[in-house]
Symmetry: C2
């Protein structure tokens, strides 16, 4: 016997018991099926990428979080997101692809950060993007937002709002105030607006050297609510970036309406800034209305040149990402997951005759059910306990009596109702 | 502009263009759905495991093939199969699991070997296992073999044979010949029987010091065909291992018949040995009848103690593994993949009116179809070209004329047939 080896999960690398595993799988299936229903293809790039690819656009923090492989001539590391691999893929295969290229990828990514509750080192991301060659119409943004709204509607985890902004509005305002150089710091302060409030933001802006007139204008923009489009027009800012951004937001509003995205599912909110550098226009974050404390559960936006660094050609795109593992943790913690455990098997056939039992099971499988069989000579009580452990919905019982009568006892495990049916209805 | 970064796929890490990606995804879906239909749950363990876990039972070659992570205190490496993670999982959570524990896992594994055609460093395995606590009935072996037969029937890649043996038969014979000590070498020679023939095998056995009478008996066993069960009885070997093995094979034959596995899909073949150490009884390999040169496309067997090294308790199991990425490569090379490219979207709605178009698309999505929309003011020809690139089955056309008449032109892209339907049939 070897010395006992540590078999527990490694911190930050989640794994689940069957009930949770089935729930997480259901979540993944819902997201994937929704992405698929809009005509996106399932791209599947390697988990490992060349170090230089991953570091092409990554900042200092990302580099510290990368997992590199030991001694390998290809200098490989584990991907930290699904966006960089997409950019590399587009750049490499653009000649063989049809544009618009619409793909999703639901897969694991890796970040060597200190694990905390709901923050993992290995976790699922569920990304969806539309990439164009040359020009990407604004309607593509509405399409991605519609997909995301459909996903959260199907997940049935309560009402949600996709809060949409356009980067050009704030950058236009900042340019008109001669504050473009401080944009990154100002964005970082605005990101905290919902948490710390306008007064504290103003104080922080002052420390940065922004005068009170300018910071009032910035905070007025970020705090707009109600009819935000009308409010933006009233601000009457003439900087061309602002004018373009407002035009895009107006067109997006029209597109969202045309695409039938329910008005309750989105709003315009200029406090949405998004940390990532590559977004250039529309950006959004998604919040559960009753659980704002969970933070954003899906973010996305438009980028004019994803593949910079890999290719000289421009491929504008728009995409969204759901941090599935984190979302699953949050939903579970908030008690928002379905209370009904998904069944291991939908039906269990208990039979004293293995052959008849398996014939019945096969006929149920042909109807699309997942079916397990229990034919060994154990106590019936033990087999029914199995049905409970597996959250089986229906038990089909073929005892001596049923077999002699060519019948089957069908037991609904939820209602407890039981009835006899002729075997010929199935086999 | 950065210096151009290498964006090509890394050798041994496959990635695919959309048409192949969709086919591989279809293959994965078929395998997964079949596994699921028998009431197995989708286990999903981390890609990274502790080095000591992976090395607990691995031989020298495996250690050389492991990808270790650089500088990490948990000493992590990439899994090389899905069996060791299963053993660790069972060992860690056995108290919280219901047995029999039936799980599948379709996921990537990593081996740092020299990549060759169809041999990858990152590849999908599709594993399915039944694990018991204490005693595992022989019917579980028939169940796994039935699942595998169902998978290959559904994949529709031609007739196949699951060649089944039982390790105890050969080991019983070898024990009765006092050759147990040379078992590993003898197995290695027998593995080559189909390739090099009986005469060359006999010569190799002689080199090993096996006398001609013994080698005749060994080769007679390995070469049995026709009614193999009767042939085994005729050999009249008395060693208890052989007797037990024969009894198990007879019982398995009965079980396979009871479970309704078509007789054409399996045979008993004592030349099947399987390299892996942990198999203890029934073992099998699967071959395409018309493409024996592809080698085994699915192997499996029974193991009495998977978790040795992790736990002091015994958890016997039976399982099978399909090397999906390799199988996909082989099927593609042999021209056995479906000729019809799976559609990116099943339907494409082309409409001059975005709102009406998307209403129609939504109604089709509600019917379970994957639907893309094309509403931008481009040439119709360009949009129809998109339908071809995406292998769309049906195009729904809402031009000015159709919109005025509240109708839609429905075009079957395969037959070219086109008809008008009232929009009210959909919306």
């Amino acid at each position: 016997m070897n010395k006992k080896i540590k078999t527990s999960a490694v911190s930050g690398f989640p794994e689940y018991l069957p009930a949770d595993q089935l729930l997480l799988d259901q979540l993944k299936q819902t997201v994937t099926a929704t992405y698929r229903s809009f005509g996106f293809i399932p791209l599947d790039t390697p988990v490992l990428e060349r170090r230089e690819v991953l570091l092409a656009k990554a900042g200092g923090e990302t580099e510290h979080q990368l997992y590199f492989l030991e001694n390998n001539s290809d200098n490989l590391a584990l991907r930290f997101d699904l966006t960089v691999p997409l950019a590399r893929y587009i750049s490499e295969y653009s000649g063989a692809l049809t544009f618009p290229f619409k793909r999703y990828q639901v897969a694991k990514v890796y970040r060597g950060e200190r694990p905390q509750k709901g923050r993992y080192r290995e976790f699922y991301q569920a990304d969806i993007d539309i990439i164009a060659e040359g020009v990407l119409p604004l309607s593509a943004e509405a399409e991605i937002i519609k997909v995301i709204a459909t996903v959260f509607e199907k997940l049935a985890i309560g009402s949600f709002t996709i809060k949409i902004s356009n980067r050009k509005l704030l950058s236009g305002l900042l340019a008109s105030l001669d504050l473009s150089a401080a944009a990154t710091e100002i964005l970082r302060i605005l990101d905290k607006l919902p948490k710390i409030g306008a007064e504290s933001c103003q104080a922080e802006l002052k420390k940065l050297g922004v005068d009170s007139l300018a910071s009032s204008q910035i905070l007025a923009l970020a705090s707009l609510n109600g009819d935000v489009l009308a409010g933006l027009e009233e601000l009457d800012i003439k900087h061309p970036d602002f004018v373009v951004g407002l035009g895009e937001l107006q067109e997006l509003a029209q597109c969202l309406s045309d695409y039938g995205v329910p008005a309750a599912n989105y709003s315009f909110d200029l406090s949405i800034a998004r940390g990532l550098d590559y977004y250039t226009g529309t950006v959004w974050e998604t919040f559960l209305d009753d659980y704002p404390e969970l933070g954003s559960i899906c973010s996305g936006g438009r980028y004019e040149n994803l593949v910079a660094g890999f290719s000289n050609r421009a491929f504008p795109g728009v995409g969204a990402s759901i941090g599935l593992s984190r979302l699953f943790y949050q939903l579970k913690t908030a008690g928002l997951l379905p209370e009904i455990t998904p069944p291991v098997a939908e039906a269990l056939v208990i039979s004293d005759d293995r052959q008849r039992g398996e014939q019945l099971a096969d006929s149920l499988r042909r109807r699309g059910l997942s079916v397990a069989g229990a034919y060994e000579s154990e106590k019936l009580k033990k087999k029914l306990a199995l049905a409970n452990h597996w959250s089986v919905k229906t038990v089909y019982l073929l005892g001596e009596e049923e077999l002699a009568a060519e019948e089957v006892s069908v037991k609904d495990m939820v209602s407890g109702e039981q009835k006899r049916q002729a075997l010929s209805e199935f086999i």
